[in-house]
């Protein structure tokens, strides 16, 4: 526990430090009464500034709009900056055009038989095809591909279609989840371009971020399994702080899907992790070093390390 700051009102701090002399054990039962009253006034698990929910389609539209705005600010030299792997910004946008086309196919191909399962190999040809083109041509091609996706999503917002299976590059999940994964991807590549062009990083809007954190938490058991990390019956309590955050408790070795913290699943929690929601998303996007992540971890720290390592495997890249 760090020493408190007394800069503003040292007398008040001294007053209440001395008031420790008057501390009294509260009467039996008052703790439960107070905590019950608090939780009745505000449900556990939900952030205090919870945004109005948006649909995955709206989250995707917002991510496209944000990336579009960024591209509109780049000059020709910036389009040539190295951005990710061996891709410069222009070829990275080409890669996204390829993802967009595959996504449109995958929306109607839940078994994923029509497109390659490798995210990078599937889009390499269109990324390479950008060499020698003008940035405007690359931009127009990407914009046409995203417009085609958005047109195909018309009317999907409120329909059961979001719960239907879809696939993309080996991922098989509901169309709604896949759209959030795409939102995640667009934001991640937007940050890649921002890093490449020395622009400040920018968190997604809070409602989109909330969709992203919920998806990442839901995929925790998948992440552990993908990373080949045995977890048995262990569970984790994850507190994501800041806008878009929340509190979840999840069994890591069982079925896919976290429980909101207010449902209080039975059994002890193996590890408790507190971390900023945006930093958590950067970890999931494989853009943050698990070793450098500023997190408060209590309980099984080795499980936390496994969990962080597992989360980075969710990134498509």
């Amino acid at each position: 526990m760090n020493a408190p700051r007394h800069d503003d009102n040292p007398l008040a701090e001294l007053h209440f430090a001395l008031a420790e002399a008057d501390a009294q054990h509260p009467p039996t039962g008052l703790r439960e009464t107070v905590l019950d009253a608090a939780l009745a006034a505000r449900t556990a698990g939900r952030p205090v500034d919870e945004p109005s929910p948006i649909s995955p389609v709206e989250g995707f539209r917002r991510a496209v709009a944000s990336f579009d705005r960024l591209l509109g600010t780049l000059d020709d030299e910036e389009w040539n900056r190295p951005a990710l792997r061996d891709l410069d910004v222009q070829r990275l946008v080409g890669h996204l055009t390829g993802v967009e086309r595959d996504f449109l196919t995958g929306m109607f191909d839940p078994d994923g038989v029509q497109i390659q399962s490798d995210h990078i190999a599937s889009t390499d040809p269109i990324a390479a095809a950008q060499i020698g083109r003008s940035p405007a041509e690359t931009y127009d091609q990407w914009r046409a591909a995203t417009d085609a996706t958005i047109d195909a999503l018309a009317g999907v917002d409120t329909s059961a279609r979001l719960d239907q299976p879809a696939s993309l590059h080996g991922l098989h999940m509901s169309l709604g989840h896949l759209l959030v994964a795409r939102t995640f991807e667009l934001w991640t590549h937007e940050e890649d371009v921002r890093r490449a062009t020395r622009r400040p990083l920018q968190a997604p809007d809070t409602a989109s971020l909330r969709l992203m954190t919920e998806l990442a938490i839901t995929l925790l058991p998948v992440a552990m399994s993908r990373a080949d990390r045995p977890v048995g019956d262990r569970s984790a309590r994850i507190v994501l702080t800041g806008p878009g955050g929340g509190t979840w408790q999840t069994a890591l070795g069982t079925a896919f899907g976290a429980e909101p913290a207010d449902s209080r699943p039975e059994g002890p929690v193996s590890v408790r992790i507190v971390v900023d929601a945006v930093e958590f998303c950067r970890l999931v996007a494989n853009r943050a070093d698990p070793e450098a992540l500023a997190a408060v971890v209590t309980g099984d720290t080795s499980l936390a390390s496994d969990l962080f390592a597992g989360l980075t495997t969710l990134a498509l890249d």
């Binding site: 040292p10 008040a12 430090a17 420790e20 008057d22 009294q24 509260p26 205090v48 408060v296």
Partner: protein, 188 residues
Amino acid sequence: MRAVDSGDSVLMARMAAGDDEALAEVWQRHGPLVYGLARRLTGNASTAEDVTQEVFVTLWQQPERFDANRGSLRAYLGVHAQRRAVDALRRDGRRAEREERHHRMGSAVGSASGDAAEATALSDVVRDAIARLPGEQRQAVELAYFNGLTHREVATTLGIPEGTAKSRLRLAQAKLQSWLDRNLLELV
């Protein structure tokens, strides 16, 4: 992963994220102070329980109102306990005189000076006053004031019973009251 401070600001960020375990931790740490203050100021166990409940429910509903840059969570809760106690006294017309006295005190303690130079000067005055305390009392006050420890933690750190820790703080309080502005430091 990198270890980070798990102090007041993290506790409150957890609360804002809906972590009810953080609320339970704040209760464990500061519940006795809030209840003790309310009990002492209102002179009534039932009213003190109501005040304590109001303070913690409000904290859970509006955690974002706490600003760790302006002071400790203990002082924040203490100010709110004091204000709620004054409100409770105000509702009881028979206690008009007591109310007036606590209202003056609550206003003085609860408001930040807003003047950095004045706050720095006050800080120096407080430090000097604490330095003049006898050894055992000074130790207890330093742990509670500079390190932000509760009475339980002071007792554990010094290896003394909780009652002894409270006595040392109370004796120190009496001396500091005579050296500093009495209105700001008195509790009754």
